[in-house]
Amino acid sequence: MIQHIDADQDGNSDGPGCLILILVLISLLLGLVLLFFIAGCQGTATPALPTGQGWKTIASGDGTYQVLLHLPDPAPLNQEFTASGWVLKGGEPISDDAVVHFDGGMPQHAHGLAVPVVTTRRPDGGFEAQGVRFHMGGRWLLTVDVEEGPHLERARTWVEIR
């Protein structure tokens, strides 16, 4: 008796195991797609907020905001630089609509920055003020005002310029 052996039979020597493997792979792929989708739905990821040399963390007057302010360390005397940073609210960066205003002055000498600076919001959610210059040595009081609609709050810190 001649036995007919199907080519299929020969080729599917693993039988249903291969099918299961394919199904598992498809499930994994779908799972990954779902994961990326869910992550994407949660909005912009919180950027890694830097700390270390030149960074100061200041709480605003009523505690609503946390200002992470960066200046060169040490801040130079009578040379322009850019002050920059982030403002956080509940651990997240404030919205792009919020207004941030950086300023500096020497209360002891009753004057501010010799040339006022303009503070701009960066696309990454931070802020920066170009052309900051501490023209005299001594204690400078730095101010970061945060304005969200009608809500206004101020954060302040000191820096010693030599």
Binding site: Q108, H109, A110, V115, M136
Partner: protein, 424 residues
Amino acid sequence: MKMILLWSLCSMWSPQDPQPDTDVLLDEVTRLQAMSLQRIAAPVDRTNRYNDVPAAIELGSLLFEDTGLSGDGKTSCATCHVPERDLVDGKTHPRGVNSIPRDTPTLHDISGQRWLGWDGRWDSLWMQALGPIEAIHEMRGDRLAVLRYLATNESLAKRYQQIFGALPGLKSLPDRAFRAGVATDPWLALEADRRREINRVFSNVGKAIAAYERTLRGPITPFDSYLDALSSDDVEMASLYPDAARRGLQLFLGKAKCIVCHSGPLLSDGEFHDTGILTSGQRARDAGRYGGIQELQANPFRSSGEFSDDRSGSAARRTDQLRRDAALWGAFRTPSLRHLAGTSPYFHDGSVKDLRSVVRFYSMRQGARPPGAGHSHQGETLLATIRLNRQEEDDLVEFLNSLSVPGSRQEQQEEGGSQPSGGL
């Protein structure tokens, strides 16, 4: 025994016999502070692209001494900025409609200044160079007269055109653009493009003069040599610096707090302060920086104006962002202290003739407006009486003299200022 004790006490208290300081290289902190006063090269000025063009520098040097730019044909930049006298004339000059006196500043190392003029009404050297040409109390010239002078002087015209291109034609030009500081009707009646090309020539004249003025670096002074010694740990060289000047330097950096405003390579923060000087005999009040900002922002030759070669750079941004703050009324630019001895009289109004009086003004605040009584710097605590003793005053004066080459002091004593000592 009593005599010995008395002698010992007298020795201790004698102001003429200060404790010798053997450390000619200073302690580390003081030394670092002192070295912050090192000379540096002239900063870049992108508003004038001709600054380093040799032909422009050469033309500028000719124009600097050319009386043909003035209204009466007798005055040049060098008339007040005398090359043989530390680039000053030892005088004050009236300014504005109220004829308020302003001291002639030296041009040594002038390219390091951020703002020019006692009230900072100019934000570049080329812009500054144009001011006195048309000032009614200075050269009394006019931009149209300057154009005619250049165009009709074959040598100058050739030099100008090699650098800046063709001069505009003179046809149908009015006599003057300004009279007593006010634009004339015929000038205003000219087409805007015509006025623009004439203003362009005028700005180029300023740029050539500025290119030359940037080369006016002051000579190496005893203080510079001392700084070199500090930098290289050269005790022998440092010991050549007079002890009194070194003690004066320590006062400058410490007790007297001069460095708070007189910092950096020019010994100036380049900004504006009201030091409480009362100019005697003046009815009109000098608005200082408050008025200077107004003048600057209205001037078409400012760094952000159309004749600037860098309208969006840092100099332009600074000017545009300035605000007329009421606290700046009566504030004047901190002058550089380099080459000081030969540049008497002192203060913005030239009211003080000698350095000792300057030191005493800050030490004792004699004749100064009381703190809080002025329009600005209310609450200022820096300008308090420090009561230097006679020896300390001498030392500080000695230090200030070391910022000039020897010989400048003699010149100051012989020729002095033209104004009586005021406010003291």
